[in-house]
Symmetry: C2
């Protein structure tokens, strides 16, 4: 019995992880970063699963990144002790961070404003606790963070350091690297990310402030960084599954994508040459991350039940529980019978995985599937 | 203590249902349809919650629509006995339908092709069961369904009727009504939906076939139908919560929207006049349904902690756990402190609700919140 036969026993739609590709992806970045003097701090917001994370984290004190306090709590509960909560802190969340610290979890928070720093300091003083805190640095104007040369950097750092929080260092994320379209641009994005973090760290140190952690990362820059001098750790999440956005940037090939949505054909509009599947946006997500790329994959590329891409087919539209497959060039659809299982490769693995409670996982020669439950909520 | 004080005790982001608006929305459609000789069959794919559905369904045998077999199973388990599974059937799902029928649930399935009809008939004959089956009619080219005048309509109906399935009737959905932008267009969409269903039903009856059910519906057409002659039931889902897409079409006002995501301010980029919130696409969804409307609301409109819209603000961008609020005209942001709770009105209630495990629910004068758990998975 092959894996594709196993999959027919599960009611569609569902997530499938090709474990052979997953392992290869995980190893590839680990080996790439082993050439540098940095540690990899996987971002667990992608896999978001204890069963999945154990393939990324070597030990219980291996560094990891989380995107919600809930993830921090669940991973801490599973024994993982070395976490960064990499979303700007809201003061209301500090009591839950305190509980984690009191339980022996080495968790850092992130902020980028004097207002947040004052709130953290007030909390630390009131609760007699030192909360490890990273400063978010803006390396490319993508989102939040302080410019590395901004006077506020030192003001915020001083507020924390003098107020009784633990100034742990700086963190940046080259979100704009997702818009790169050449190797040269990716290398430049990685160097820009490194420089922003190192400049900010240098300013802190020259001001007599501590900065043990210099954290950078995104999957594109992690894969294309040539120089990581001054950086202590690299974060990346989607490198584990990969997706069509990453393939569009040139970080992987579509054949490397380990995550897919398994779906069944439910109908056929012969006049429009549309094939209907039982995977709508409820299982695929509404992510359209490839829209602005050279190859717009609509809502995903289509693979047969063995996971091989069927050239020329895409999911061109979605409703809640319906997907529409058509040929990109408007030519006739191949004959695919009602009930046939297909696999859809996602634009954005984090977004597609987020629509599901868990993953069915297997190697291509595996006959019993594993199940990785996902963490939900905040 | 007001409801907004209650909400500050819950960790953001989370879904909130303003029960006063919800009740008003539910009542409005019920009263509108009471003028016609039809029953309302709420589509539970929006609320997707047993606790929520009991406010829509008067009795356990009240008609209801579901979008997944899982919904059918959960609502059946809660006592509801009158269901349509309104997504084209995949043959693999028939055993679960059979179990529901064997448990006394009056559930109909939907199909639109000879291939599906043959699969259903084969299953019915093998299992000695009559599965109630509706024919999906295409009223506007939006998705699937048979054209009402298509010769295949009678072929499919005969295949079912002679093969031992129970031909229950016809069903159509005016999906294109979501693109309407005038009252006239909405009235025309409703009439087009009615006509398609009635023409198909008439053809079945004239061919000596049964057609007890003539089911139409979408929230816009349900609200704007002037004539429902020949129709037996109307389906609608999002009328309960409403959303910005419905407001854009003119089916409701933004002030009628009962669903919002409650979020906290986590930062401020003073140079860009951006406010960061802890609601990204993970809690708001990536739905951009207003993109093609006259007023593009980006990822949602912004309300203060009392639920009153703050004019001129929108969520202009989202990452996984970050949202960015800015003014639509690029003017200066009002001062909103870190930690402040805001509420975001969603583009598409079904999509935003789908990102959450449940809803916190309350009237504006309520001091204890209810919680409605959502049904997840397939």
């Amino acid at each position: 019995m092959s894996i594709s036969t196993c999959l027919t026993k599960i009611d569609t739609p569902f997530l499938f992880v090709d474990k052979t590709k997953f392992d290869r992806n995980v190893l590839a970045l680990r080996e790439k970063l082993a050439m540098h003097d940095v540690v990899l701090r996987p971002h667990l917001k992608t896999v978001k699963s204890i069963a999945g994370a154990k393939h990324l984290l070597v030990d219980f004190d291996s560094p990891a990144t989380v995107s919600t306090v809930k993830e921090a709590e669940v991973f801490a509960g599973a024994g993982y002790t070395n976490l960064i909560y990499a979303v700007g802190i809201a003061p209301q969340k500090l009591p839950r961070i305190q509980t984690l610290l009191n339980n022996g979890i080495n968790i850092s928070i992130l902020l980028d404003s004097v207002a947040q720093a004052k709130a953290v300091v007030a909390f630390c003083q009131a609760q007699h606790i030192n909360i490890p805190t990273l400063l978010e640095i803006d390396c490319d104007g993508h989102r939040g963070g302080i410019q590395p040369d901004d006077a506020q950097l030192i003001e915020i750092a001083n507020t924390l350091h003098q107020g009784g929080a633990e100034l742990r260092g700086v963190l940046t994320h080259a979100g704009e690297s997702y818009d790169c379209s050449s190797e040269q641009a990716l290398i430049a994005a990685a160097e820009g990310e490194r420089l922003a973090a190192v400049i900010a760290a240098t300013r802190l140190i020259e001001s007599g402030l501590p900065c043990p952690v210099v954290s950078v990362g995104s999957t594109p820059t992690a894969h294309f960084a040539k120089n990581l001098a001054g950086v202590t750790e690299v974060r990346a999440g989607v490198y584990t599954f990969f997706d069509l956005v990453m393939a569009g940037i040139g970080v992987c090939q579509p054949e490397d994508i380990a995550l897919s949505v398994v779906t069944s054909v439910i109908g056929h509009n012969e006049k429009k040459e549309w094939l209907f599947i039982d995977a709508g946006w409820m299982s695929l997500s509404q992510d359209r991350g490839t829209r602005t790329q050279r190859k717009d994959c609509d809502y995903g590329l289509v693979c047969d039940s063995n996971g091989d891409i069927i050239p020329g087919l895409q999911v061109i539209g979605t409703n809640q529980e319906h997907g529409i497959i058509a040929t990109v060039d408007g030519s006739k659809l191949p004959t695919i019978a009602v009930g046939t299982q297909l696999r859809i490769l996602p634009n954005h693995a984090c977004a597609t995985a987020a629509m599901h409670a868990g993953y069915y996982v297997g190697h291509s020669d595996q006959i019993e599937l594993d199940y990785w439950q996902r963490i939900q909520g905040w």
